[in-house]
C-alpha cells in the first residue's frame, strides 16, 4: 500500500468536504427554501457532476485554470503559480465534482424540517440566522453528516478529474485511485489488490454508516430523504 497516496487522498477529501460545508450550506438552504421559479435550473447545475463524464469536467477545469483563461491568469497573478497540477487545483476541481453529494442530502434534510416550527420561531421574533442555527440545523444534523461523509467518500474515489487536472505527482496530486492505476500498469497486482481492498472496505463502511443513520431517522419522526 502506498501510504503517501493514501495521505494525499485523505488530505484532499478533508479539504474538499470542509470547503463544501462552507459553500454547500447556504446553497442547500437556498435550494430547500427558495421560491424562485428558476430554482430548478440551479438544482440541475448542482447535479451536473452526477451525470457528466469526469473527463468533461476535468477538461473544462484544466482549460479554466490554465494560463490561457482570465481566471487562471488572475489566480497566477495573485498567488504566484497556476492551479493545474497542484493540490489546490485538485481541491477546486473536487469541490465542484462532489457538490451534489453535499447539497442534495442536506437540502433534502432541510426540506423535512417541519415548516410550522420554522414559522413559529419567526413569529417569536427569532432572526432567520438564529432560526437556522437553533431550529433547522438541530433537526437535520443527520443530513449534514451524510452530506459531509458522502462528499468525503466521493472525493476519495475520484479518478478521471484528478487524472486530468492533477498530473499524478507523488505526494501532491497522486491519489489512491491513481496509485492503483499505476500499480496495475506496473504489474504490482499485490499492492493494487491491497489498496483496492482497503478502498472497498472504506466505501462499504461509509455507506453503512450513512444508511444506518438514515434508518434510525426514519424509525423516528424524520427521514433523511436521500435523493439519488
Amino acid at each position: 500500500m502506498n501510504w503517501e497516496a493514501i495521505a494525499t487522498s485523505l488530505k484532499l477529501a478533508s479539504a474538499t468536504s470542509a470547503v463544501l460545508m462552507i459553500v454547500g450550506l447556504p446553497l442547500s438552504y437556498w435550494v430547500a427554501y427558495s421560491q424562485r421559479r428558476w430554482k430548478f435550473l440551479v438544482e440541475a447545475v448542482v447535479a451536473l457532476p452526477l451525470v457528466l463524464p469526469p473527463t468533461v469536467l476535468g477538461f473544462y477545469m484544466l482549460v479554466l485554470m490554465g494560463p490561457r483563461s482570465p481566471l487562471g491568469r488572475g489566480y497566477e497573478f495573485m498567488v504566484g503559480r497556476g492551479l493545474p497540477f497542484t493540490f489546490e487545483g485538485l481541491v477546486v476541481a473536487s469541490t465542484l465534482y462532489s457538490m451534489p453529494f453535499t447539497v442534495q442530502p442536506i437540502a433534502a434534510a432541510f426540506r423535512t424540517v417541519d415548516r410550522k416550527l420554522i414559522e413559529a420561531a419567526w413569529t417569536l421574533g427569532v432572526s432567520s440566522w438564529d432560526t437556522f442555527l437553533r431550529v433547522i440545523v438541530p433537526q437535520s444534523w443527520t443530513g449534514l453528516l451524510a452530506g459531509f461523509i458522502l462528499s468525503f467518500a466521493h472525493t476519495i474515489g475520484e479518478f478521471g478529474v484528478v487524472l486530468m487536472v492533477g498530473g499524478n505527482i507523488p505526494g501532491r496530486t497522486r491519489t489512491v485511485s491513481i496509485d492503483i492505476y499505476d500499480e496495475v500498469q506496473s504489474l504490482n497486482y499485490a499492492s493494487a489488490a491491497a489498496t483496492s481492498l482497503g478502498l472497498l472496505i472504506f466505501s462499504f463502511l461509509v455507506l453503512s454508516l450513512v444508511y444506518g443513520f438514515g434508518r434510525r431517522r426514519q424509525a423516528g419522526r424524520f427521514s433523511i430523504g436521500f435523493r439519488n
Binding site: 495521505a7 497556476g82 497540477f85 499524478n168 505527482i169 500498469q185 504489474l187
Partner: protein, 249 residues
C-alpha cells in the same frame, strides 16, 4: 484551525509526510517502468536525494509539461518530444541527449498456442488471436512503432479490427500479461522485466521494421542542481548498465 493542525499531526504521525532535503520530480515514459526504479534506487543511494516518479505516455506527459506541470526531468520515448518542448521554451537549452534506443517485441502469454519464434509478425494473424494489445499511437511512440512494423509486414490492414489500445505501452503490456488480450506488441524493456518474463515469451521485432525509438533525457527549465545531476546520471555507467539489461541499445 485546530482541525487542520490535528490532521497534519495525525498524518505526520503516520509517517506519511516525510521531509526531504532535495526532491527531484521526474516524468518518465512508461517503457521505463521497471528499469527506472533500479536507476533511481542507485541514484538515491549515491546522492541522498529523493526522486519522485510520474509514469505515463510520452505524449500525455509532454502535454502536461507544456501546460506547466512542475517536472524537472523528462525521460521521453521519442526525440520529437524534446523538439516540441524546446519550441515551447520548456527545456534547458542544449540539455537533451539520447540515452538509448528502444526496441519492440511480439509478446504472448505462456499458455498461448502460437509459435512466435517461427511465425514472427505473422503471429498476429494466428486464428486463436481475438485481441491484439498495443499502446495508443496517438500519444505513445511505442504504439506508432507497433503500427509501423505491422504496416511494413502487411499485417496491419488484416488485424486492425482486433487491436485494443493501452493508454501507454505499460498498459498494453498489462492487457496482454493479464491474459485480457491474446497477443501484444510492446516494449522490449517491459518484456525484459521479471513479471513479464515469468508470464510469457517474446519475439524481437527487427529494428529495420520501424522508425528508431530514440529515448531522450530532457532537463526542463528552472531545474535544480539536484535535478541536473539526475539528468546526468542517465548516462552514467551504472544507469547505462541497467538500461542495457532492459534491452536499450
Amino acid at each position: 484551525m485546530n482541525f487542520r493542525a490535528a490532521l497534519w499531526f495525525a498524518l505526520t504521525f503516520l509517517g506519511a509526510i516525510p521531509a526531504h532535503a532535495a526532491e527531484i520530480r521526474v516524468a518518465a515514459a512508461s517503457d521505463l517502468n521497471f528499469a527506472i526504479k533500479e536507476i533511481i534506487a542507485g541514484f538515491e543511494k549515491k546522492t541522498g536525494h529523493t526522486v519522485s516518479l510520474t509514469p505515463g505516455s510520452s505524449g500525455n506527459l509532454s502535454n502536461q509539461i507544456v501546460q506547466g506541470a512542475p517536472f524537472q526531468v523528462f525521460l521521453a520515448a521519442g526525440r520529437e518530444y524534446a523538439q516540441q518542448l524546446e519550441k515551447a521554451g520548456r527545456t534547458e537549452p542544449g540539455s537533451v541527449f539520447i540515452y538509448g534506443t528502444g526496441r519492440i517485441v511480439v509478446w504472448t502469454p505462456r499458455n498461448s498456442p502460437i509459435d512466435i519464434d517461427k511465425l514472427g509478425m505473422e503471429s498476429l494473424l494466428h486464428p486463436s488471436v481475438k485481441t491484439i494489445a498495443i499502446a495508443n499511437p496517438e500519444h505513445a511512440p511505442y504504439g506508432r512503432a507497433a503500427v509501423a512494423a505491422m504496416e511494413k509486414t502487411n499485417v496491419y490492414a488484416r488485424v486492425k479490427s482486433k487491436i485494443v489500445l493501452g493508454e501507454s505501452v505499460s498498459q498494453a503490456a498489462q492487457f496482454v500479461q493479464s491474459g485480457a488480450a491474446d497477443i501484444g506488441v510492446i516494449a522490449l524493456s517491459l518484456a525484459s522485466s521479471d513479471p513479464m518474463k515469468q508470464a510469457g515469451r517474446y519475439w524481437l521485432i527487427p529494428a529495420s521494421m520501424h522508425p528508431p525509438l530514440e529515448q531522450a533525457a530532457i532537463l526542463l527549465k528552472g531545474s535544480s542542481s539536484a535535478a541536473r545531476s539526475f539528468h546526468e546520471w542517465m548516462r552514467s555507467p551504472e544507469a547505462v548498465a541497467i538500461l542495457k539489461r532492459y534491452g536499450f541499445q
